[in-house]
């Protein structure tokens, strides 16, 4: 058991160190960063803010990790967020109960995932192309649902999913942490994780060993759709309205980045959900850090790109090869 734990620690160490470095850097430019206070029964402060603002990307990263582990990619998650958010807002305005609204919007997410899964696993279309279809079409569907306007609502129960508190934490934080734990348990306490990795590394060999690769692929795309639906619901609840044009815009890229920063190869195979979630927090910490450090907003994207580039260069095989060579050279007289 100890060996497993040590392996896990080694696996997530780079991500934890990166997160620590990013947070420390923000702490240097903005000394007030670590101040946390309790008011109105919840914690306030920049670290809590990172956990809260990072919720959508964290949720997307869970599904994206599983999809990427099979050697695929899901570009449609941002658009699926918009669809599910639009459906949720519309239903609540129409007077549906909260449980019914949630069930139907999550169901819509699953349906989007099923569509992607069928394109990829049954029709054999390349994942990047297959999910691009829904990425483009999805936003249009969301606009049709909201009839081209921003659909606002006033329903405190629904809104609390985005801006309420639970256990001294903002509700979105509790949701993504619970989703993360649940997904990790399902994947690692059953054989699902191993089978997903097997299909990602060698689909043909897995099939010949009796793995139902097709069903597995459809399942991971459905999980990704479900995660996107949750993210869409949170975003909609938070702003008390569905914005078909901007909800989840470009978030698929942040989610992919979170997975990559989390050390899962885009070629598929071994994955770590925890590392991806830390990756999502790294990205949100960068976003928040740039904001609180007081850079002019027009620098945001450039600075973010530079930091991500630095992280990826540090993780690159070329640099790791160089590090090994260097340590060998030192070892020899």
């Amino acid at each position: 058991m100890n060996g497993t734990l040590a392996r896990f620690a080694r696996r997530i160490a780079p991500q934890l160190i990166t997160l620590a470095v990013v947070v420390a850097m923000i702490g240097i430019v903005f000394p007030g960063f670590f101040d946390i206070s309790i008011a109105n029964g919840r914690l306030y402060g920049s670290p809590v803010d990172i956990l809260n603002r990072g919720a959508p990307v964290a949720l997307l990263a869970i599904g994206m990790t599983l999809v990427i582990a099979t050697g695929g990619i899901d570009l449609s998650v941002g658009a699926v967020m918009a669809i599910c958010g639009a459906i949720a807002a519309t239903l609540i305005v129409e007077g549906y109960s909260l449980p019914a609204t949630l069930a139907l919007s999550l169901g819509a997410g699953l349906l989007c995932g099923l569509w992607n899964g069928i394109l990829v696993a049954v029709l054999g279309i390349q994942p990047i192309v297959a999910t691009l279809i829904l990425m483009v079409a999805g936003r249009g569907i969301a606009q049709l649902v909201t009839e081209g306007m921003i659909r606002t609502f006033s329903h405190d129960g629904f809104a609390s999913l985005g801006s309420g508190n639970l256990l001294w934490l903002p509700t979105p934080v509790v949701i993504w942490i619970c989703a993360g734990i649940l997904a990790t348990l399902i994947v690692r306490r059953t054989a699902l994780g191993m089978l997903i990795e097997a299909v990602g590394i060698n689909r043909r060999a897995s099939m010949l060993a009796g793995v139902n690769a097709r069903l597995l692929l459809v399942t991971v795309y459905m999980v990704s759709g479900l995660c996107a639906a949750m993210a869409g619901i949170i975003v909609t609840a938070d702003i008390r309205g569905a914005d078909a044009n901007n909800a989840g815009l470009f978030l698929e890229l942040d989610a992919i980045l979170a997975v990559v920063v989390g050390g899962t190869s885009l070629l598929g195979g071994h994955f770590s959900l925890i590392a991806s979630l830390i990756g999502a927090m790294i990205i949100q910490a960068i976003n928040t850090g740039i904001l609180v450090a007081g850079f002019p907003p027009e620098f945001n994207l450039v600075i973010k790109a530079c930091i991500v580039l630095a992280i990826l260069v540090l993780q690159s095989p070329a640099l790791q090869g160089a590090a090994i060579l260097f340590s060998r050279a030192k070892g020899q007289p």
């Binding site: 054989a191 590394i201 060999a205 010949l208 060993a209 793995v211 139902n212």
Partner: protein
């Protein structure tokens, strides 16, 4: 036929060429000699070292040992471009030109005639037409390459290679996707190049074509040179003996395999199983505790038979029964549920999950059969992995090492362990001993005999005839996608198998 006398200095020679990959010695001190003005066939089964030899000669691989001489001078091409400049050109089975460029552009890419610094289309087309006219080809060179047949594309590829290199031309399975007339057309081109004094290396597994065009034949097996013969003095049977490696010492078999009781009903029976264009419908039944060997040359339909039986490839009809009850096999999952196992020929692409540990690779099939909801507990996985590692003698530091880092023989044993863990009743092994060292080879054969003694039914496909003779109760011979012969008990000798493989196909006799 040969223009240059055999005493002259060889055009291209490899002396004691060696190349090692992790776990396998792909080439072991191989000598090869190509004269100017000859077509020299290079033959051998999969894994014999043909492609490694070619890749060393063309600079795609760097050799580990030995020397390559071109016109008597030692060369060491770093990449294929350098080899091309030195005079060695290659044309592959899959034409590796640019299908959507024109024929002329393909011929002259990178050295198109220019005027005023710009590529001159007219000049390009004129030069290309001239080049092709030498091959008796008058086609519209301004049309896209992929608007022509594969045969024409092959000739364009040859024309390009010859114009770039001009001394040695290597043809790697050029006829694989050509029909009879196209082969004729290609061979006319090859003959005219031979007359011009080029040295041509011809790789093919169509023996008729080899005898048709070649002056000399070099045979490799397991990375070693078996021999060089004049094509005119060699007959089919001798050649197949060389390729499949019958040991000359006439080893008698006294394993007591003769008396298998065929009175009992078979365990598994396939009837009318086949697939149009892949393998002719066949009947095959296997009994409890029986080893059925399957022999045939590369591309004869052996592997296809195995894939059909395991439902890894679609079938046209036919029935499968197990102990008399019909089975519905639509996918490998169904086959596994029925107690089948299949260790495929291509370990790397169809067998191992390279990045996963030995332990995970061993439990994979069992886990897949149980379904994801019922995981094999980690402690049980470790127990199983350690048990099989010990019992099968898998050489690995521990069960957590990625299987891709093991040698071929140990990967093969781990794959065997994967199936043994599912406790199968019928196991198909496709080339279980290919590319593995002698020690592991003997162990795998011992395992096959043990499994069969314990009541398992086995179908073993192998190119090693000695091996088949050792463990088979029955041998099915496949030739040209048809199951042509079945040898039982005392009939099984390497001679009888070779004879069944070598019998020229009836189409051939009628045609010539």
């Amino acid at each position: 036929m040969t223009v240059v006398s055999s005493q002259s200095q060889p055009l291209l020679a490899a002396v004691g060429l060696s190349k090692t990959f992790p776990g396998t010695r792909a080439l072991d001190g191989v000598d090869f000699e190509l004269r100017a003005g000859e077509v020299h066939a290079l033959l051998g089964e999969n894994g014999a070292g043909k492609s490694t030899l070619i890749k060393c000669l063309t600079g795609a691989y760097r050799r580990d040992g030995g020397d390559i001489l071109l016109d008597g001078a030692s060369i060491d091409p770093r990449d294929t471009q350098e080899a091309q400049r030195l005079g060695i050109g290659t044309v592959y089975q899959e034409v590796n030109l640019l299908p959507n460029l024109t024929v002329a552009e393909n011929l002259l890419l990178g050295r198109q005639p220019r005027s005023f610094g710009l590529v001159s289309r007219r000049e390009t087309n004129r030069t290309a037409r001239e080049m092709l006219s030498r091959y008796g080809l008058a086609i519209d060179v301004a049309r896209a390459l992929d608007s022509y047949s594969v045969a024409i594309q092959q000739i364009v590829a040859i024309a390009r290679a010859v114009s770039l290199s001009g001394k040695v031309l290597i043809l790697d399975e050029p006829t694989a996707s050509l029909d009879r007339d196209e082969v004729r057309m290609l061979f006319d081109v090859v003959s005219s190049l031979r007359a011009q004094g080029l040295g041509i290396v011809f790789i093919s597994h169509f023996l008729d074509q080899v005898f048709d065009i070649s002056d000399r034949i070099t045979v490799l097996r397991n990375g070693k040179l078996v021999g060089v013969r004049e094509a005119a003095t060699l007959d089919r049977t001798q050649l197949i003996n060389m390729m499949l490696g019958r040991e000359l010492s006439e080893e008698t078999r006294d394993r007591g395999r003769g008396g298998f009781d065929y009175a009992q009903a078979p365990r598994i029976a396939f009837a009318g199983t086949g697939r149009a264009g892949v393998i002719a419908p066949f009947d095959l039944s296997i009994h409890r505790g029986e080893v059925v060997g399957m022999a045939g040359l590369l591309g004869s339909g052996r592997t296809e038979t195995a894939e059909l039986m395991f439902a890894a490839a679609p079938r046209d009809g036919g029935t499968v029964t197990k102990d008399g009850t019909p089975l519905k096999l639509a996918s490998p999952r169904d086959a596994i549920a029925a107690g089948f196992g299949f260790s495929p020929e291509d370990r790397k692409t169809s067998g191992i999950i390279g990045d996963m540990s030995v332990r995970e690779n061993i439990v994979l099939a069992l886990q897949a059969r149980q379904g994801w909801m019922r995981p094999v507990r980690l402690s049980r996985q470790r127990e199983m992995a350690d048990d099989y590692i010990r019992r099968l003698g898998i050489r690995t530091p521990d069960a957590e090492k990625p299987i891709g880092q093991l040698s071929g023989g140990n990967q093969q044993k781990a794959l065997l362990a994967r199936w043994l863990a599912t406790n199968p009743e019928f196991l198909i092994l496709d080339e279980p001993t290919r590319g593995i060292d002698v020690g592991a080879h003997a162990e795998i054969i011992r395992m096959i005999e043990e499994l069969c003694a314990s009541g398992m039914s086995l179908l073993v496909i192998s190119s090693e005839l000695d091996e088949l003779v050792t463990y088979s109760h029955r041998v099915v011979v496949v030739r040209d996608r048809v199951h042509v012969a079945e040898l039982i008990g005392e009939e099984i000798t390497t001679d009888s198998i070779v004879a069944a493989i070598a019998k020229p196909s009836p189409v051939q006799e009628a045609g010539t």
